[in-house]
């Protein structure tokens, strides 16, 4: 007893209570003790101590970086490049995942789905702006005269199309990148009617009538440069070949023509003769002069010419025959066809 007193000398209330408890052999003191405080429960499993130990071990883990971020920070410095999502760096309450109705989707921490999807946190609008500003000194101004599609087409008639491939692999080469396509408008090439005809025969199905484009595609060489050279060679060779006239080409006569040319046929001669006779003029034109005679000087002559050419080139059908009918009536000054119901 005396020992205890000496040990807990400071005389705090708690100590005196313990004293009381130690001393409580008599019934009186026990009653008093129960009123003041309950007995401590014997803790066999000692759960409390274990939890304390666990907490102490995790003390070295830093709090999230996102919690310490100021609101006016430069986000480009926090997330400078492409990177998988990391919850402690992103100060956004993001959630992702499919859950039954009424539940909240999984949060950003320990969420593998957020790590899977590609994010664009490194390409926020301010970052893009700064990067654009940084590369601006290396850019040249767009030529002012090339302000429209038409101007570009006029000054750069040859169009070269190649494809670059961007893919995830240790090599940057893609065999498809070798393919070169060159397009040029046929009307941009300086060709007369004979050379144009020969050019079209040389290129074959590479010419598209609807768009008036000649398209050369090369993929036979392993490198793009070689294919580009080859395509250039093709265009040059075709162009110059179409201008050369071989001896045997002169042997082509009217029967060999693949289309009906009004100026070359006797119809033209008949028309011109009829025109001079009906106007009581003297007709002493040679064959070549008749061929080069301008049809538009004859009233309704162009219409007649078109109608005849159409009739021979497209063949007889309701439209061409009807056109021919009206053209002839106009040319000869006959009344219009009466529609009999």
């Amino acid at each position: 007893m005396s020992l205890f007193i000496r040990k807990y000398k400071p005389g705090v209330v708690y100590n005196t209570q313990i004293l009381w408890r130690l001393n409580s052999t008599t019934a009186e003191t026990q009653k008093q003790g129960e009123e003041e405080e309950e007995f401590r429960v014997l803790d066999i499993l000692q759960k409390k101590t274990r939890i304390q130990k666990k907490a102490a071990r995790r003390a070295d883990i830093q709090p999230d970086r996102s919690e310490k971020m100021p609101t006016d920070q430069n986000w480009g410095n926090v997330w400078p490049g492409p990177r998988s999502f990391h919850p402690s760096s992103v100060p956004l309450p993001i959630r992702q995942g499919y859950v039954p109705k009424g539940q909240a989707p999984p949060g950003k921490k320990a969420n593998a789905e957020l790590m899977k999807i590609p994010n664009f946190l490194h390409l926020t609008p301010p970052v893009i702006k700064t990067q654009c500003e940084a590369i601006k000194p290396f850019c040249t101004e767009w030529p002012k005269l090339l302000n429209s599609e038409e101007a570009i087409e006029k000054h750069y008639p040859v169009e070269v199309i190649t494809s670059d491939y961007c893919h995830a692999s240790p090599t940057i080469r893609n065999p498809l990148a070798r393919i070169v396509t060159m397009r040029v408008k046929l009307s941009d090439l300086k060709l007369d009617s004979r050379a144009r005809d020969k050019f079209l025969r040389l290129v074959g199905d590479k010419y598209d009538e609807k768009t008036d484009l000649v398209t050369f595609t090369a993929d036979r060489c392993p490198v793009r440069k070689q294919n580009l050279d080859y395509v250039n060679y093709l265009l040059t060779a075709c162009y110059h070949e179409s201008w050369t006239v071989e001896d045997w080409e002169k042997e082509k006569c009217l029967e060999d023509m693949e289309y009906y040319d009004f100026d070359m046929h006797p119809s033209k001669k008949n028309l011109v003769n009829w025109f001079f006779m009906s106007n009581n003029k003297e007709n002493n034109l040679s064959d070549d002069e008749i061929k080069s005679f301008d049809t538009s000087s004859i009233p309704n002559g162009v219409e007649y010419k078109n109608a005849v050419s159409e009739l021979f080139n497209e063949g007889e059908n309701v439209t061409t025959l009807k056109n021919y009918d009206t053209a002839v009536r106009k040319l000869l000054g006959l009344p219009e066809k009466k529609v009999v119901d």
């Binding site: 995790r58 990391h86 999984p106 320990a110 790590m115 590609p118 995830a168």
Partner: protein, 169 residues
């Protein structure tokens, strides 16, 4: 009895497949192996089997409720290096699971950009940070030596497996 006829049927096909040119992408027509049970988990009696979000969604929910674990252009139409990429990915997965033994809490996510391989995973904080830093450097160094590509590890750490548990069945 039937074997000779089968052989006859099979042989011309093999010859055909040998002679015909190998196209960039061939149509895959075989049925999925063990379609009913693969990638799915049975409910236990006590309802105490922990599942991550990845495990909770069966394979047919890929691209609907969960996304792919490998991101690359090889799996696109006419992609290059299909088989090489698949084998490399499998190798990386096994290497990570073995190197970070018992620490990987999620699937190993492999993303490829150009020649850069980014590997993401959720790791348990069961080893000291020093060891973790060593393992990161070790993994990156060895993988980049083998695959001949820069490899980056992008890890997220959790306290325990329980953090990644989505539900119990």
């Amino acid at each position: 009895m039937n074997t000779p006829t089968i052989l006859k049927l099979v042989q011309p096909l093999n010859i055909l497949s040998k002679c015909s040119p190998v196209f960039a992408s061939q149509f895959h027509t075989s049925s999925a192996l063990c379609r009913v049970v693969s990638g799915k988990y049975r409910i236990t009696k006590k309802r105490d089997r922990p599942l991550t979000y990845e495990m909770a969604n069966p394979p047919h929910y890929i691209a609907h409720r969960k996304s792919w674990n490998s991101w690359n252009t090889s799996s696109l139409k006419d992609g290059l290096r299909k088989s090489e990429t698949a084998v490399e990915d499998e190798f990386i997965r096994r290497f990570i699971n073995g190197t970070w033994h018992g620490l990987v809490c999620s699937e190993v996510i492999i993303k490829r950009q150009f020649n850069h391989i980014r590997i993401a995973a959720i790791i348990r904080r069961a080893v000291s940070p020093t060891k973790m830093y060593f393992l990161i450097g070790y993994t990156e160094e060895l993988l980049s030596t083998w695959i001949q590509c820069p490899v980056t590890l992008e890890l997220q750490t959790v306290d325990s497996y329980k953090d990644v548990v989505f539900k119990y069945i």
